[in-house]
């Protein structure tokens, strides 16, 4: 372990120190125009129960988005893993990252907006415009779109490792295509599914720009409230306490999934 020191330093500077600051701030008093007063207080945490509904909404939006993302990513990852043009297809998967994510979210506004591409198209056939934006549906759609590559990549890499002959063996033993997929392929890409889940669920839970830009009042997520506390209310300790809560919620979600996997 020649580079242990480097790893430790890296973790310390980029991970532990910032996290400690957030944890520390959550136990302090707010200053009126931002910043903290150096006196210990649990007040920030006492605000949290009033955000239960918001937390619940964040969890279900992130949860539904994650499930949809995995469902879409599975066949794509499978197709790529069996393709002769793997590298090219993988390139296509990551091409969206070349564009700034904010611009891609704005693009969805252009597509879904009241005067957007779809509504103009509907208008041409004399149909009433549909309100696509500013609801949980739009948020879920854009989250799925944004995080799909994060699910495809780990699934692809675990599917690539699956021995083709076990799929053929299952077929040979009488399984139909669906049974091959469910009973043989899925159990053998568990690790990929787990990382895909983590890669999608955690950032989805902390989404901020997406609900801000395509969501309405009924689809604000916890990330929006953290930003509001930090930038508008300028209550840093409350923003920190909510961030910590977010971390705890994600951790609990992941631990639950991992335990379920272990029990099987």
């Amino acid at each position: 372990m020649k580079y242990t020191a480097v790893y430790v330093l890296w973790l310390l500077v980029l991970f532990l120190v910032p996290l400690s600051i957030v944890v520390l701030f959550s136990f302090l008093e707010p200053r009126v125009h931002g910043g903290v007063l150096w006196s210990f207080s649990l007040r920030s945490y006492s605000y949290l129960p009033q955000y239960l509904r918001l937390i619940w909404r964040s969890v279900w939006i992130a949860g539904v988005s994650t499930i949809l993302t995995l469902v879409l990513a599975l066949p794509v990852a499978f197709y790529i893993s069996k393709s002769r043009h793997k590298n090219f297809l993988l390139l296509l998967v990551v091409v969206p990252f070349w564009t700034n994510s904010l611009i891609r979210i704005y693009a969805w506004r252009v597509i879904l907006g009241n005067n957007g591409v779809i509504n103009q198209f509907l208008n041409r056939f004399g149909l009433e415009p549909v309100q696509f934006l500013y609801n949980p549906f739009a948020v879920i759609l854009v989250i799925v779109y944004t995080y799909l590559p994060f699910a495809i990549l780990p699934l692809f890499s675990s599917m690539e490792k699956v021995d083709e002959s076990i799929l053929e063996a299952a077929l040979d033993l009488g399984a139909n295509k669906r049974e091959v997929f469910v009973k043989v392929l899925l159990p053998n890409v568990k690790a990929g599914l787990l990382s895909a889940f983590v890669f999608v669920f955690i950032p989805a839970l902390g989404s901020y720009a997406i609900p801000d830009l395509v969501g309405g009042l009924n689809s604000k997520m916890i990330g929006n409230e953290i930003a509001r506390q930090l930038l508008i209310v300028k209550n840093w300790p409350v923003a920190s306490a909510m961030s910590n809560l977010l971390i705890v919620v994600s951790l609990v979600g992941i631990l639950l999934i991992m335990r379920r996997e272990k029990m099987k």
Binding site: D163, S165, I166, E168, A169, A170, L171, D172, L173, G174, A175, N176, E179, K183, V184, P187, N188, K190
Partner: protein, 366 residues
Amino acid sequence: MVGGEISILNVNKFFGDFQVLKNVSLEIRKGEFFSILGPSGCGKTTLLRVIAGFEDVQEGDVLLDGESILHLPANKRPVNIIFQSYALFPHLTVFENIAFPLRLKKFTEGEIKERVGNLLNLIRMEEHAFKYPSQLSGGQKQRVAIARALANEPRVLLLDEPLSALDAKLRQELLIELDNLHDKVGITFVYVTHDQTEAISVSDRVALMNDGKIIQIGTPYEIYESPVNVFAATFIGETNLMKVDVLEVEEEYYVVEAPGVGVFRCYKDKEAKAGDRLILTLRPEKIRISKQKPVIFENVFHGIIEEEIYMGYQTKYFVRLDEGYIMKVYKQHVRYLLDEPILHWKDEVYVSWDPNDSFIVEVLTS
């Protein structure tokens, strides 16, 4: 279980422009242990995959007990395959691997227990029932793969080089086990291999393949002793191949002359006339080698031992004859110390063989 009968009729298959199977026709009999033998890339595995249902064909038909199975997908064919890699499901125990096809067919828990139990008993793996494939040795994996393939009670078991991943000793053991298993279950085995020893040691019949074509079909004895062409003669076992000219035609023999060897007699396996050229195969183990000139044999030639390879049970000699031909001679060691004085490198020796022991592979008429 009942064995099925397979007929492969004029099958042609292409991968793009490349023809992998060239007008292949085969009859595999009920309950037979049938081997398809050939070098890698000859199309033997493709042929097996055609029977299993993993490859389609452009022309021809495949019948199982008289009915075409080409339209059936792999999961509907009453044949099962054992893959080279065994293809055990890594996430399932030995028991569940074998139970997999039974669960698909919605057998009751009791039936599954009974049938898997019987199969575990058949492969002597009862005590390993709840291990995962990663905890098994190569030989054990192989047995589980067989049990799993038999769980469906197929009419034909297809085996795709099932022993090639194992070491030589284990291979021999499992081959005998496979042969015993075949006797026990009574279904048809189609065994694909590139290993001629495997093929000829356990099969009832062997089909020799090369370059997408069937070269020869016959019992192991026929394949070894009466090869139909140069490829068959050289692919199976080792041999001395000679191009000889017919000098004289006698009642039972030809008097022939081989460049580098000299004039000798060979049995008239095929019709030829004086002046024709023959290709002759002479197996090294059929040649005698001695320091004294033998008196009772004809076809005696003098030479020098150029190379000596001691194998324990036999010694391989490469003898340079006076005329220049290098002849392979294998001498079996049957007696300890009492064998005639051991021959060594650079010794002058006589080689000889019975005219009945060579075989005419091809006649090239002039």
